[in-house]
Structure formats: structure tokens, C-alpha cells
Amino acid sequence: MNAGEALDVVGAGTRRGVGRPVDAPHVLDVSALRGVVDYEPEELILTALPGTSLAEIESLLDARKQCLAFEPPHLTGSGTLGGAVSTGLSGPRRLKAGAVRDHVLGFSAASGRGELFKAGGKVVKNVTGYDLPKLITGSYGTLAVLTELTIKVLPAQEDTRTLIVGGQTAGDAVRTMANVLQSTADVSAACYLPRDISVPGTATHGAATAFRFEGVTPSVEFRLSRLRHQLASAGSIAILDLEGSLHFWRAIRDVVPFAEDSARCLWRISVPPARGAEVLAKIQTSLPGSRAFLDWGGGLIWLQSPGEADVAGTLACEQKIRSAVAQSGGHATLVRAPADVRRNVSVFQPQATALAALSKRVKLQFDPKRVLNPGRMYADV
């Protein structure tokens, strides 16, 4: 290859469909950078090469009763640690345990300048220098190619149970979730599935507002039974046991309700949680036939667009989604669409002028010739 030619950086490739297509003459395959370098359960840290599969890391942690608290989604397969960090997608526990970025402690990488560097550290508490581990999280490989990652791991939950309130409207569900999240119920996830959406293998009759309780058994039982009393008049109540809960929340994490219909576009919309139902209603009024469910207490909308995923249809859809989000604050990302659609539609929320200029300057400091995943996030970044 010649100097200045761009690279499409790929690990396991499970998240390759997220973001704009990269126009690069070469692929840099980093999947061979594999293996756990250091795992110290009592220090709550794990260091691994970025191509290590999430499944391998999760089974290693499981053996020591620990976990990745940010619950990275397994989209089209488990993917790698590097992919989970680079895309920065967090699961249902975001509400309580934080996002991917809150668990990335340190890394080594090669920047777009071809220079190796490291940042952060290998301890759980550190403010030495800029927090580049946060910048690298969710940067879609556009700043540097990761060569090693250190993440914070946490104890796994001893027990898990789920309380489901049946039959609520989206508006009532978001109000209920807001009330529960303001209480000391201390739920680790809260989602809402309308009547037409269900999780295969979990019996829900009609719409389901679901709350997850995690912790030591006496605590889980106490909080669950108290909430059950408090919500007795809100609708029919069902409880999922440990196995049922793990199954249900894995499905929410992995967006299973929309996994099958891959011909349709999938949007991930982040808004202030209490406004979830209102934003969704606005979008669905202008996009009849779209289907959606809510996670993060209403703060995360997964929306499948109606009709075929062509460029014209998706542009129209985008305009309606962005106009609804503009009123509430937040952003929308097109996380699944054919390549030609992702090339012609803004996949990520377009940024205000000053912020966009700042983002571009950050990119150019790390990768002045734009050789790493050019255009993956924004056409000119």
C-alpha cells in the first residue's frame, strides 16, 4: 500500500454494519490480536488484546462470579472486546451501572500517525492526564487502532428477578418507570414492550413494563415484594425467576425483537427518559407501521422503520425522527441499514456547527491524513 491510503479497520466484523460504509482501499484485520493478558478478580481489572472475543471474556469472568457490568449487546454474534469498546453500545444496566465508557480504564493503540501510545492506567481509580479511554470508546476506530485494553470488571449478581406489569400504554409505562426509578426499589433495568412486541420464550400477555431486580437474595426479595404491592393497581403482575430473567434481559440487550427482520432499518434513539413515550408517539404518528420498544426507563428507543430500507424512504424516515428528537434533546443513530442507505443518510446525529468543528479537529490531531475508518461516523471525519 502507499502512504496516506486509508484503512478499513475490522475485528470480528459483527458491528461492521453500524456506521457509514468506509471507502478504503485496504482492510486492516486486527482479529489476530487476541488473548487475555491479565485478569485480577480482586483488583477488579482485566487486560486483554482487543480481538479477544466477548464470549471468551464473559466465560472467564463467569467462572470467578464477575461480569462486564455494562452488558455489551451481542449483535450478529458475540464480537470482540475491541468492537464493544469502539462502538460504545451499552446494555439495559446503563441506568444503574453506567455505560461502556465508564468501565474502560486504559488502552494502548497506534494512532493515525502510526505512533504507538498508551493512556489511562491499570487501576480502577485514576485521573492522571486526559481521560483518553473515554474518547476512544465509541470512536468507531477513527482515532487509533487499539492494541490492548484494560477494563473494570465487577461482581456478578447473586440473584436476579423481574417484575412485569401488563397492559400499560407507553405513556403510563414511562410514568410508572419514572416513579420506580425515583424510589429506593433500586432496579437495574426498566423497559417497556408494547402489545405487538414480545420476547420469544417469555410469556407476556399484552404490553409489558418490566423491572429487573439484582443483588443478594434477601434484598431482591424485599424490594420485589414491596414494589409488587405498590404497583398492584397499575396492571396485572407477573414475575420472572432467575432463568427467565436472564433470558428476557439478554433479549432486550441484543434487540432480539427486531433481529429477524433485517430488511428493515433499525434506529437507536437516546432521549431524556421521561420523554420517551412522547417522542415515540410523535415519531409513530408520522411513521405509521413503525414498531418500537423502550429501554433505559424510556431513555432508549429501539425503532424499526416501516417498509423497505431504500434510500428515499430512509431519508424521509430520518427527517421525521430527527425532528421529533430535536424537540426533546438527544440523538438518533441508524444502526442497521443496507450499505447504500448508510452512505446516503446521516447515520449519526448531525452535530451543531461548533461541536462538529471541534470533533473534526480532534480527529485530525490523532489522524491528520484520515487513514483510519474515514467517514465511518461523519462524512468529513
Binding site: 504507538l116 434477601p218 470533533s359
Partner: protein, 494 residues
């Protein structure tokens, strides 16, 4: 401690800078020497410097106007909240303008449904919790200066506190900011939603020590207060058994709300100061706090007590009332002033180490005490490995300040050598600036400095902090780093 040399051409234009700032902030420019003196140092009291001017804007618009003027005239800017930095983050420059944010002190919005508070940067940490207390909420990060320190300063330093093991540092509790860049541009990042889009600029602004922009508005997450909290006071015959107990607690899957350790000198100093009944016949003391519903707290207290006994704890008490819980904490929270009574001066160090290295590090500190001829008392955020050795000295004794500085540097080098870092929560500032190359190569630092160039290409925001060498951005752009080393290792350090 060398700071960048004052620029005589700026000092010569002081009158012009003053006039322009007065146009922008008519009632908020401090010129006379006596009033400026209040700003000459922060909580790192070993260093002081009179600023050229101080300006106190009272709106985002005024902050933007001030920064546009400074940017146009090439004047350096030192942002300041309450001035409680322990690392000299707000230390002024002789040719610089201190921009104090104290007048931006309004809480703008309390939103219980979204569990957020939006406020201006000069609001104190504690007053956020107070504003939402009646509804049973609080803001989790609780640095010990929380009565005085501001949320803007907390963002600059990514402040922690005794509860951050379970509830996170500032960075884990901030959802949005409005900043003004050195060029006077207003940029909003994030909001009330749970993840800001695009590059995580919120993540790098938090903990950027005032080098990237001035925060003018903040949205933080608030949490419902736990129903019950109980503290355990556990005594040990050695630092090793106390350390092993901490590992056993984490190993058992318990993340306490707080887990603090004190060594014998710290225990004795604290007990003499507040008289709360700390055991004086132990070598190490752990305070472990559990919070949540009573059913959970009782269950976990029993588990922790059993684990401590297995590891050989010699005494154990559980708080039986809220006043007693607060009394257990009173000694720990008063540790700094208590140690301050033993000695005219002390330095508080702030390294983080892997917890397993604790016994070895404490043993080395004993050696250092005789090597440097100074005493040290240790308090320790044991759960996350954040060590706070307090070095006692008397600056009136010739040579003691220098010996204390050398002692501090030796401790931080040791932290890095055992796999830790220079600072867990106090920031680099000027205090640890010249030690950055212990932890980072020239290449690592070049990547951090280039990030600054994206925000502040002329290097006007808080220069002389964090980075041991001042590079010009144009020079950094050309620099080729080979095997972690810059091509010009002989560039003078200041």
C-alpha cells in the same frame, strides 16, 4: 516549582487588557493588589503567585466575551472555582487573567422525572445535594471539600470522594455540559439523555484540569438516597491483614458504599482530635459502609464481619444508630486537620496502587521515613487502591519543604513502579506535573498535548499545568515520535 516565564509584552499591555475586560464585565474586574491577593493560591498552599488581573463574569455571555478578549490579545487564562484544588490547578500566572466562576452560582433546573439537576459551575457540590434532599435525593460524588468546592471545579478535576467505589467519580455522574472555548465559542455537549453522541468530549473535558475550556453549565445525575446505611469499624493487628480483608470482601462480590483504611499514626491523630472511640491498640483500622434496604445491609454486614474475623480482625463494631455511623466517619473525615495539629505543615499525596501492593508500599514508606527524616500518616481509600499518605513537615525549618517534596515524589514514583498511577482524584496540576514522564512516555504525552491543540491551539488555557514541557501545537504536529521518544529530548523543562 517553575512556571512558564511571564511574557513582558503582555505585562506591558496590562492597561489595555484591563480596559477591554472592564467593557465586557463592568462590575467584575479586580485590579488592586489587596483584592487580587485573595486569588494568589489554591489549597496547595506551598505555592503562590499574584495574577495580573482577576475577572468574575456572571453569565455565559460574559465568559465568552472575556475569553474572546484574552484570545485576541494572546493573554493566558487560569479558570478558578472555589480554589480548593489540592494539586495547584488554580495557581495563577503573573501574566495571566484568573477567570473566577463564583458568580455563576444558580441552580437552573431540578428534574426528578429524569433524575437530573442542571446548574451553573459556581454552585457548590453540597448545595446540589441540599437542593434535592427534601425529595430524598442526593448527588453522589462527595469530595471532602464538598461544603466549599464547586461543581465546575469538580468537573475540571474529576473529583472523587469516599463513596466513589460504588457510585463513581464526577465523570460517571455528569450527563451534559455547556463550555466556552478559548476562542469564545459556546458548545453544548450531552444533556438529560444517558449518552452524548459523537466523540465522548464530555469524557475528556471531565478531568481536563481547566486546559480545554471553561464550563458554564452542568447537568448531573441525582440518585435516591439509600434507605439504610451502616458502618463497620474493624481493627487489625497488621496492615497486611487489613489489606487481605479488603481483598476478601471484593472477592466475595461485595462492593461497599465506602471502604476506608487508616494506619496507626492516622488513627491516633484522628482519635485525639475528635474522640469517637477508635481502638488505639490496633495497627490498622477499616471503616466499611454498607447501604441499601435494611434486609440487604444486615445480610452484607454479617458477611463482612465474618470475612474480617476469618482474616484475623482483632476488633469489630457495627454502628447501631445514625449518630454512631456519623461518629465512625467523623474521625476519618477529620484525618487531615487532625494530622495538621501534629505538624505545622503537611503534604497530602494521592497515588493509586493495585491493592495487592499495599503491604509492600507501606513497608517502603517506613524506609522513606528514615531516609527523608520525616514522618508520614496514611489514610487510604482501600476499596479502589487510592492512597493518601500525609507527609508531616515544618516549612520554617530550613530544608524541610524540599525534603517533603522529594519524599512526595518518591512515593508517587513508587506508586507507578508497582503498577499504579500518580493521581487517583486530586489531579496533576503543578504538583505532579514534573512526574508525568514517570508514568507516560514522550509519545503518550504528545498524544495528550495534541488533544489540547484541538481545543486551544495557542496554548492560552491554564498553561504550566499537567504537562512537563510546553510544546507549541505547530511543533507537535511535526514531531515524529520514535519508540515513545520525541526527536528533541533536550527541549528545556520548566
Amino acid at each position: 516549582m517553575k512556571m512558564p516565564a511571564p511574557d513582558p509584552s503582555i505585562l506591558a499591555r496590562r492597561g489595555e487588557v484591563l480596559a477591554r475586560l472592564r467593557e465586557a464585565v463592568p462590575d467584575g474586574v479586580i485590579e488592586d493588589e489587596a483584592s487580587r491577593r485573595a486569588y494568589e493560591q489554591d489549597a496547595l498552599t506551598a505555592y503562590r503567585q499574584m495574577p495580573m488581573l482577576v475577572v468574575l463574569p456572571s453569565s455565559t455571555r460574559e465568559v465568552a466575551a472575556v475569553l474572546r478578549i484574552c484570545s485576541a490579545l494572546g493573554v493566558k487564562v487560569v479558570p478558578r472555582g472555589a480554589g480548593t484544588s489540592l494539586s495547584g490547578g488554580a495557581l495563577p500566572l503573573a501574566d495571566g487573567v484568573v477567570v473566577g466562576l463564583a458568580r455563576l452560582s444558580k441552580i437552573l433546573d431540578v428534574d426528578y422525572d429524569n433524575r437530573t439537576v442542571t446548574c451553573q459551575p459556581g454552585v457548590t457540590n453540597l448545595s446540589i445535594s441540599k437542593a434535592v434532599d427534601a425529595r430524598g435525593f442526593y448527588y453522589a460524588p462527595d469530595p471532602s471539600s464538598q461544603i466549599a468546592c464547586t461543581i465546575g471545579g469538580n468537573i475540571a478535576e474529576n473529583s472523587g470522594g469516599v463513596h466513589c467505589l460504588k457510585y463513581g467519580l464526577t465523570t460517571n455522574n455528569v450527563l451534559g455540559v455547556e463550555i466556552v472555548t478559548i476562542e469564545g465559542e459556546i458548545v453544548r455537549i450531552g444533556g438529560k439523555h444517558l449518552d452524548a453522541e459523537g466523540y465522548d468530549l464530555l469524557g475528556i473535558l471531565t478531568g481536563s484540569e481547566g486546559l480545554l475550556g471553561i464550563v458554564t453549565e452542568v447537568t448531573v445525575r441525582i440518585l435516591p438516597k439509600a434507605e439504610t446505611a451502616r458502618a463497620l469499624l474493624i481493627g487489625f493487628a497488621s496492615n497486611e491483614t487489613a489489606g487481605a480483608t479488603v481483598a476478601a470482601i471484593i472477592g466475595a462480590g461485595i462492593i461497599p458504599a465506602g471502604m476506608e483504611m487508616m494506619d496507626k499514626p492516622a488513627i491516633h491523630a484522628a482519635e485525639a482530635f475528635v474522640n469517637v472511640g477508635y481502638p488505639l491498640d490496633v495497627e490498622a483500622l477499616l471503616i466499611v459502609e454498607l447501604d441499601g434496604p435494611a434486609a440487604e445491609v444486615d445480610h452484607l454486614c454479617a458477611q463482612v464481619t465474618a470475612l474480617a474475623r476469618e482474616q484475623g480482625a482483632v476488633s469489630s463494631r457495627m454502628s447501631s444508630s445514625e449518630p454512631e455511623r456519623l461518629a465512625f466517619w467523623a474521625g476519618r473525615k477529620a484525618a487531615f486537620p487532625a494530622v495538621g495539629r501534629l505538624s505545622p505543615d503537611y503534604f497530602c499525596m494521592d497515588g493509586t496502587i493495585p491493592r495487592k501492593a499495599l503491604p509492600a508500599v507501606l513497608a517502603r514508606l517506613k524506609d522513606f521515613e528514615s531516609e527523608f527524616g520525616l514522618r508520614v500518616a496514611n489514610v487510604f481509600h482501600a476499596g479502589d487502591g487510592n492512597l493518601h499518605p500525609l507527609i508531616l513537615f515544618d516549612s520554617n525549618q530550613p530544608g524541610e519543604l524540599e525534603r517533603a517534596e522529594a519524599f512526595g515524589a518518591a512515593i508517587l514514583r513508587l506508586c507507578v513502579q508497582v503498577g499504579g498511577v500518580l493521581t487517583g482524584e486530586h489531579g496533576v496540576g503543578v504538583e505532579k506535573r514534573d512526574l508525568m514522564s514517570e508514568q507516560f512516555t514522550e509519545g503518550d504525552l504528545a498524544h495528550q498535548e495534541r488533544l489540547k491543540c484541538a481545543f486551544d491551539p495557542a496554548g492560552l488555557l491554564n498553561p504550566g499545568k499537567v504537562f512537563p514541557i510546553l510544546h507549541r501545537c505547530a511543533e507537535l504536529g511535526r514531531l515524529h515520535v520514535h519508540q515513545g521518544k520525541l526527536a528533541f529530548p533536550d527541549i528545556p523543562r520548566f
